[in-house]
């Protein structure tokens, strides 16, 4: 443990330099502000009262502190000040602590009142330490109050510049593809043997007139002809069959997918 004046190094008044709270009184006891709003809770009030004992927090008299606190609360009550529950609970607890401290040793409970008192003292020390640390922190040379940064810095800028890349092959191949893409395209269609839809219609209707039985579409095609003509005839005959079915002159059936198509005249 150090024995330096850390605990008392900064007076309450200078602590209060940073905030406007009425936490500290201008003079000792009597002038205590009876404004509980000024304290950050009962522990803070206790710390303030402890400070008034003018001794190191490690040596405060807890009994005296309890008396001071309770007296303070009673006085506030007498003045009909509104007192937050926190403060009253603390007063009750301190009263209990005081009576326990005064009891004969053998009737002590666990935890002992000595332990409770010591813990309270330790808490006050810690809060006191932080309060002083806060004051010392606030008293440092602060930017914008004691030291100043450059008022109008130019700023650092990084500009991005594009370095475009393309190579010879890309250039000429792109040109080639574009030329090819945009050349006028001529489609040459060679002459082929075809069966027109009209002739397929004539042919299929004529053949349907021969019988009432189902006939496979293929049997309508010209036999022994050029395979290219047969392909054309198949397509035309299929369309002709659809047309006849649409006109109600024939019906079409197919037993299975991709199976042979059958055609039959509809009796009219």
């Amino acid at each position: 443990m150090t024995e330096d004046g850390l605990m008392l190094g900064v007076e309450v008044d200078s602590v209060n330099d940073e905030w406007e709270g009425p936490g500290a009184a201008p003079s000792v006891d009597e002038a205590l502000y009876l404004e509980l709003d000024g304290w950050e809770g009962p522990l803070d009030l206790l710390l303030d009262l402890a400070r008034r004992q003018k001794v190191d927090l490690r040596e405060i008299s807890i009994l005296a502190l309890v008396d001071q606190y309770i007296a303070y609360i009673e006085r506030a009550e007498a003045l009909k000040l509104e007192i937050a529950a926190d403060y009253l609970v603390m007063a009750a607890w301190l009263a209990y602590l005081k009576s326990a401290l005064l009891l004969p040793k053998e009737e002590q409970e666990d935890p002992s009142p000595e332990e409770l008192a010591l813990r309270l003292q330790l808490r006050l020390q810690r809060l006191g330490a932080m309060r002083e640390a806060a004051a010392r922190l606030m008293a440092r040379d602060r930017v914008g109050r004691d030291v100043f940064l450059r008022g109008a810095p130019e700023g650092l800028r990084v500009d991005r510049v594009n370095a475009w890349q393309c190579d010879w092959y890309q250039l000429v191949s792109t040109y080639g593809q574009m030329k090819a893409r945009n050349e006028p395209v001529v489609h040459m269609v060679r002459e082929r043997p075809v069966m027109t839809l009209d002739s397929a219609l004539d042919r299929v209707s004529a053949m349907l007139g021969v019988t009432l039985d189902w006939m496979e579409l293929r049997s309508f095609l010209p036999q022994h002809s050029d395979p290219r003509l047969r392909r054309s005839a198949l397509a035309s005959s299929f369309v002709a069959a659809l047309e006849l079915a649409r006109l109600g002159r024939a019906e079409i059936r197919q037993q299975e997918s991709f199976g042979p198509l059958h055609l039959r005249r509809l009796a009219s």
């Binding site: 905030w19 926190d86 309270l120 809060l127 932080m130 922190l137 004691d146």
Partner: protein
């Protein structure tokens, strides 16, 4: 005596920069040069001038000399006044970081309104530093480089009185301190492993009832 080009470059760059810069950022900006010597030389050069070159949390910046405050302060008071609660919370975060809200409240003995931490985070001095890996995974808070910069601290080690507080055990929780004080003559130290929590049995619950189950 003309300073060398690297020194001039570091000087100009930091002078123009809108934010403090780390040595690494400076080096990257200056084509990878090793800037440490230049920084030392510059800091030395400016040590007695009206401007200082200072290091704050590994970041370097120019600022006016502290003894010039009286000339500059009268025009602009740019510093926001912190409430007493915010001031205390800031100190607790700085000296105990990383620290949870419950720990802050254990020290202050009072609930901390969320606005208080918000103010500190808005000022850029406190940040959320993750969660503590304990039941409930409470959020923990720590200070920022801007905090160091604002309060003129090179690092957290420069916090006023930090060493003394540490040596006096005043940064340790009450339980640890109590344990340390009584361990010599007290065998049954059941409280040791129950930080802040051994108070459920009523007696000094009054001291703890301000804690928030954050």
């Amino acid at each position: 005596m003309k300073p060398d080009e690297l020194v001039r470059g570091v000087e100009a760059t930091l002078f123009a920069a809108e934010e403090p810069m780390t040595a690494e950022q400076l080096s990257a900006h200056l084509g990878g040069a090793d800037v440490r010597e230049a920084l030392v030389e510059l800091a030395q050069h400016y040590s007695e001038r009206g401007i200082r070159l200072v290091e704050r949390g590994k970041r370097w910046q120019f600022q006016t000399a502290p003894d010039m405050a009286h000339l500059l302060r009268r025009e602009k008071e740019q510093v926001r006044r912190l409430s007493r609660a915010a001031t205390e919370v800031l100190a607790i975060v700085a000296y105990h970081e990383p620290v949870s809200r419950a720990e802050i409240e254990a020290i202050r003995g009072v609930q901390t309104s969320s606005g208080t931490l918000d103010v500190l985070m808005e000022a850029g001095w406190v940040r959320v530093a993750g969660r503590r890996e304990v039941p409930g995974r409470p959020v923990i808070y720590a200070t920022t480089p801007e905090f160091l910069s604002h309060f003129g601290l090179e690092s957290r080690k420069d916090l006023p009185g930090l060493d003394e507080l540490k040596a006096a055990g005043l940064l340790d929780p009450v339980d640890d301190a109590y344990e340390a004080m009584t361990s010599l003559d007290d065998d049954d130290s059941e409280a040791a492993d129950e930080p802040f929590e051994e108070t459920e049995d009523g007696d000094d619950a009054v001291l703890e009832n301000h804690e928030e189950s954050a």
